[in-house]
Amino acid sequence: MTHPTQDLDDTVHQRVRLGILAVLHETPRAEFAFLREALDLTAGNLSRHLQVLEESELVVIDKGYQGRRARTWVRITPAGQSAFDKEIAGLRELIRRADQAGPADESGT
């Protein structure tokens, strides 16, 4: 049986990128400003992580205008949904195994 850490994708297994995918998992699309505020990030930091996710085809970025105001909307791709679900399942499995191993370790010491 493989260890759950082997199932974790380096692109997704990172707190900011996982946070971005978590937001996008709950909505058809979110605006850049909402992501920045929800995840408490600077614009530059968010942009860098979005670029990584876009290059991995986990999100799609749509840039446009609402009146004269520039708006950037981000949505998750099916691959992104799948990667997020896999990451969450991996994290839960890691915690479950650690919880199971915990009492045994304690009794052995």
Binding site: G19, A22, E31, A38, R71, W73, R92, L94, A98, G102
Partner: protein
């Protein structure tokens, strides 16, 4: 707790918090279609005026079944226009809120189910009596409410949907005018369908206003 487990706990907590925050940001929009369709149902009253000469009919196996006489085609036209405008306005409102808050909501399944069911009702009941007491369009609104409750993950809306199902069935199957004297209102024979119509209309309207008032503190918390 080792580093990997601590990190897993932290990441999971972070993801869940982000999901919770997003759900809160897109919550509380469904009051709009409730209020809108409540108003549209109430405003349908003129199409439910019955002339005495043709006010009774024995159709669909339930006798006597009264249908809005002489104006039945008018009612079908009214409902068709009202339903199209209602769902279009709902889409517009959801888009406007998405732009304002920065988070979109899934609303297309609600629009598709609501409009699809009404179109089916309109086609099945053509040439225009809209079947039992002319109130079947009220029943066509119900599945849409359950779809919306599922999309919004809202138990209160699902509960309201069940309540509205009961109310819409009463509007379709019972002469509500039998009970209106209890509140001091005895409609004339020409307007005897009005209590049926307005029972459902005001249920939607007041339910929508209740949900709107309940979401005001949440919106203030988010913007404050």
């Amino acid at each position: 707790m080792d580093d990997a487990e601590a990190s897993a706990h932290e990441l999971l907590g972070l993801a869940e918090a982000a999901q919770r925050r997003t759900r809160e940001a897109r919550r509380g929009r469904f009051w709009f279609p409730l209020v809108l369709f409540g108003a549209l149902v109430i405003a349908a009253a003129p199409w439910y005026h019955q002339s005495q000469s043709t006010s009774r009919s024995c159709q669909v196996g339930l006798c006597p079944v009264r249908i809005p006489a002489g104006t039945t085609h008018g009612a079908t036209v009214y409902w068709t226009v009202a339903v199209i405008l209602g769902y279009a306005a709902t889409l517009g409102y959801y888009r406007w809120r998405a732009t304002r808050v920065g988070v979109a909501s899934r609303v297309w399944p609600y629009l598709a189910v609501g409009f699809g069911l009404f179109a089916a009702v309109a086609v099945v009941t053509l040439p225009g009596d809209l079947s039992i007491r002319g109130m079947v369009p009220l029943l066509a609104l119900v599945p849409g409410l359950f779809v919306l409750a599922w999309l919004e993950r809202s138990l209160p809306l699902a509960t309201f949907g069940a309540l509205f199902l009961a109310v819409a069935l009463i509007s379709n199957l019972y002469d509500v005018e039998n009970q209106t004297p209890l509140i001091g209102w005895t409609p004339s024979a020409e307007w005897s369908l009005l209590p049926n119509l307005w029972l459902s209309g005001f249920t939607l309207l007041l339910g929508g206003l209740g949900f709107a008032l309940a979401t005001v503190p949440q919106r203030r918390r988010r913007t404050g």
